[in-house]
Each structure stands twice: as C-alpha cells, then as structure tokens.
Symmetry: C2
Subunit: 330 residues, 2 copies
Amino acid sequence: MSNPAGKPITLADVARRAGTSTAVVSYVINDGPRRVAAATRERVLAAAAELGYRPNRIARALRSRTTGVVGLVLADALNPYFGALARHVEQALAGHERLMLIGNAGYSAERERHLVERFLAAQVDGLVIASADAGDDVAARAQAARVPAVYLHNGPTSGETPLVTADNGQAVEEALAHLRAHGHHDVAFLAGPQDTGPVGRRRQVWQEAAGSEAVLLRSDYSRAAADALIRRLAAADAVPRALIAATDEQAIGVLSGACAAGLPVPGRIAVIGLDGTPDSAHTAPALTVTGQPLRAMAQQAVDLLFDRATPAPPARAALIRRRSCGCEEV
Amino acid sequence: MSNPAGKPITLADVARRAGTSTAVVSYVINDGPRRVAAATRERVLAAAAELGYRPNRIARALRSRTTGVVGLVLADALNPYFGALARHVEQALAGHERLMLIGNAGYSAERERHLVERFLAAQVDGLVIASADAGDDVAARAQAARVPAVYLHNGPTSGETPLVTADNGQAVEEALAHLRAHGHHDVAFLAGPQDTGPVGRRRQVWQEAAGSEAVLLRSDYSRAAADALIRRLAAADAVPRALIAATDEQAIGVLSGACAAGLPVPGRIAVIGLDGTPDSAHTAPALTVTGQPLRAMAQQAVDLLFDRATPAPPARAALIRRRSCGCEEV
DNA sequence: CTGAAAGCGCTTACAG
DNA sequence: CTGAAAGCGCTTACAG
C-alpha cells in the first residue's frame, strides 16, 4: 500500500508515526541486532501495519552489502537437464530466502563471461555456474570480487571455484552392464562433439569398459542432431543394435530418428540415456536412463555457496528401467 | 579488479585519480546527462580503466530508482511451453539491457502472490506474469506500487494489467480443418481439468466447430496424466481415431501412452498439439502442431512494459505439418 | 533501552 | 564546463 500521493512508505514514516527513531524501527523489522522493549515494539508493528510499510531491499542492500539475490548462469534452460537443474537451484535458494537472477549463456563462453559481469555489477550474493562446455574459468572474476561462486555439473579443472558433479563413471558402467544383461555384446556410444567435462568422462569410461573395438558415434547435444544422425545411419544400414547416449537430449533424438526410419525401439535398437531428465519418462517408447541426482547436486551447490562446506562425494546415479532398453513396461 | 585491500573501486576513487569531481565521472560513465570536455573525459576514462572501476548498480538503483531488473513469474519452466516463453522474455529483456529475476509459481496463486511481493521489494522495474491458471489479479499489487506489469499467455478478465495472448481460436480451427482433410470426421479434444484462460478458449472453439456430439476428454496438463489416460482408454478400446490436444505436453503424453499400448500413431490415432513447442519436433513420431508465435508474444509483452504501447492484435499460429496427423515425413 | 547521526555509492539539482 | 553537496532508504556504531 502507498499513501495517497503514491509515494512508498519508508522507515522514517513508520518511525514518525510510532513516535520513535528509525534505528528502533529497523531493530523491530529485522528482529535485531538490538533488543527493543515490548511496548515500543508493539507501537512500531502497529504503525508499520497501518501504513502498509514494505522494506526497500535496495536501500538495505547498499548499506548491508547483501542483496538476497544469487545469479545462475545456465547453458540452456530449454535443455531439460539444465532446466531441471535450474528448478532445483531455485528451490534450494528459496530455502535460504534468496531470489534467483537467471541468464542463459547458450553454450558461449563469451556470453557466460558477460553474464558474470552483469550479475557481479548487480551485487549478487553468490554465483552458480552450470555450463555445457567448461573451457575458461569464468568464475575467476567472482573470486577476485570476493563473491562466492560454485560450478555445477561442469567446471574447469584448475582454479579455486568448487565443482559439484555426479558420479558419471558409475552411471556408464551401470548402463553398460544392463544392456549386456539384455544380451547385447556390442554396445555403441553416442558422444558429443568433443570429449570435455562430465560428458567426456562418460565417453572415456565407456571406452575403457567396452573396448577399443566398440563403435563410437558423435553428434551435437541436441535432439535434432541425434535424430538426423540416426536417419543417416539407417540409410546406410549401419544402425547399432544397442546404444548408450551421452545425454538424454541425444537419446530422445535417437528415438525420434529411429521412429522416422521405421526402426523399432528396443527391437531393432536398444537405447539408454545417461541424464535421467523428467522428459525421459514420457517418450515413445519410455526411455531407460541412469537418473542423475539433480536435486541433491543443486542443493549441495547452494549449500556450498553459503556454508562453504567441503564438497561431499558425488551422489550415485540409479538405473531407471523402462522400455527402451528391452525391459518390459512396468 | 579490486585494489590490494580487496575493496571495490568507487566513483570517488576514480574522481580522485582523475583529479575531478564525482559528478563529472558519473557524466562520463553514463554518457550524460551533462556534456564533459574531451580532455577531462579522457582523463576519467583512463583513470577508470587503470583502476578497473565497475559501477555498483545497487547504489545507482537507490538513487535513480531503477534497478535494470525485471521479474518473471512463471507457471513452470520445465513445461516447454513456459520454458520457451521464458527464454524469449529473457532475450527481449536483454535487448532493453535488463536482467531477469525468475520465479516458478508451480500452478499456485498463493505462490504467485508471494513472488510478486518479493520482486516488488527487490524494486524490479517491471513484472511479467505467465501463469497457467488466471484466477486472481496478482498484478494488482504492482499497479498499486506503480510498477508496470503485463500478463503473458493468460490473465484475469478484469483489472488494469494488459494481457498478451495468441489467437487461440484460429489455431483450433486450423487443426480441425487439417484433420478433416485427412478424412477424420470425428475429432476428439483433450482438454485440461477446467476450461479457463486461453486453453479453455481452445476447448470452446473446438466445441462450436466440432459439434456437441464430439468426444471430450480431460486430463491434467502433464505428460504423465495424458499418458495414463490413453492407456486407460486403450484398455477399454475407447481410443478416438483423431484427437486435438489442448497443449503439447498432453499431446506428447498421448504419444507415449499410445506407444505403450501398442497403438500406432497416426495409423490408429492421429494427433495434433496446439502449442508448437520446440520439443514437438523430435517426438516419435514427430508431432504436428499449430505453432504459437511465442517469440513475438514475449517481445510484445516486454515492449509493452517499457513503451506502454497499445497491445497489437494477437499473432496468428501457423500449422506445422509433421507425421502425427497422417502427413508424410518431410 | 533508545535517539541522533554517519555512511553505503551513486545521481543530479545548485552554484559558480 | 565543472565542483561541492544533498539525498535515495536503509543499518549500525556511538552516545546517552
């Protein structure tokens, strides 16, 4: 509520009405850091309520040097893996009474750096960076500005900024073992364009476990690219019988490409995705995945920002059996 | 960059180094509102660069009463329809040099109101509200606080706040005509739980065009719910030959349910979705949709916030022919 | 337990 | 064209 003139109510207005000082009003509103006599307290609360006082967080931020806002630099919220991560980060932040500024960098280190600068200028209390590529240490600027930062999912190997990831190796091993249990001796792998970061690690673990004979495929991290790849392979009759996709996005593209090419899944090609995004539950057929502990990862990243706790060991991914691997529908 | 003590550089530091006043430094940094002599200007720029000066936007915000931040209250970023809208809003905002605070209300009016309060306290320059239900006028508080607000996709019928939507009626008519051209006389409609907002309007237009005999189905706006519904119908042998889904989420659920039930799409059931989300291009089979002009809608909403232009007539949705309606793959 | 006042880092009228 | 200074709305040492 505003007064008739439309001007917002300030602390001073409340103090005047309660017949006290702005200091006391501040102590009442913030429950500290000083104690206030019960009677005074009541008068202040009543005045604030009558006037419809709402604190101006910007003024508070300037004085106390804390804005209550955290910046999230994200690769791409439309990719359900990052989208789900963003949701969990927002919820974890809400638990700390923080608001979330979001910026999609769209796979560009340049734009990541730009977003970090803008967020720092906005005086964020912390920075969470969840990028697809992890070339440069974009969080270095945050360190210099003494703003806590944390990498989520992916981060540079060097540098001071902590990194929260899942146990990607174990996820791959589980997926591979499962397809072998379905009788597939040769399991192909659909990797990304380069073998960097956690997704590169997935490829590496697969390579070690599957042997150097195993078929390696590559596509961009998009449904469209994987879809196109499968159609091309189908035309050349070179589609593998079983495949692990580095990301769910690619796995979903494989499903749609196989459908378009008339190749039944899992009959002609069995597929497992390694992310465990919400989307994977409702594809046609339903996608078997290793479910990354996204919520736990987001929570840990946020806790790290405020508590500066030591990073816990990565949570394990759990295999979620659905139809695309050859299991019966549950 | 910070000085050795780690304290951020301020305007006053730059002024001291350039041997001038803070006023002049401010004029140089902001390119106005006053002119500055070229020589002075050079000295200031040099000093700022040497010190690595970065303006504190919070201090600026307190003084100039504009934060450069806009709040987006969203139903659910994991729903690709809202997720795509959010991306477009962010991009439109970047065109105005604005940062975006985001909050997912998760289909709760209570949480929407809470987010509006928090964003207002953070002194946002504007508010975009994209909700699924549109019961209460949650933007009313913004009006009272004289903060520009705009509803996107959905909004209350009464109230001052402008609303940007697409031409939903035309989309339905186009989808219906297309399925009829494929020889389907009876076209069912999968509506949401209630017939409110733009999605309710879709159902209404379908009802008028398809006649009162036509089959109306209902499910929640989720893949899971539509998936379960189709399995149930399949068990009762009551699956329609052709269906328009109120949202892509539901259409995708229909695809996965049909797959699980062994019902070929489009052979046994033809499907069209009414959103045109990016996801719809890579389902199995690819989903025919009426493509809502999401980018144009987001752009218009943001322009409305800053220019207070009059709302343009809603952009028309275009039919995107893919496989699920019975068209051949392109 | 409370009041008067300084100060956070800017922007911008007000004088020169 | 430029400088000295007020003031945005808070928080918090400093006195009483």
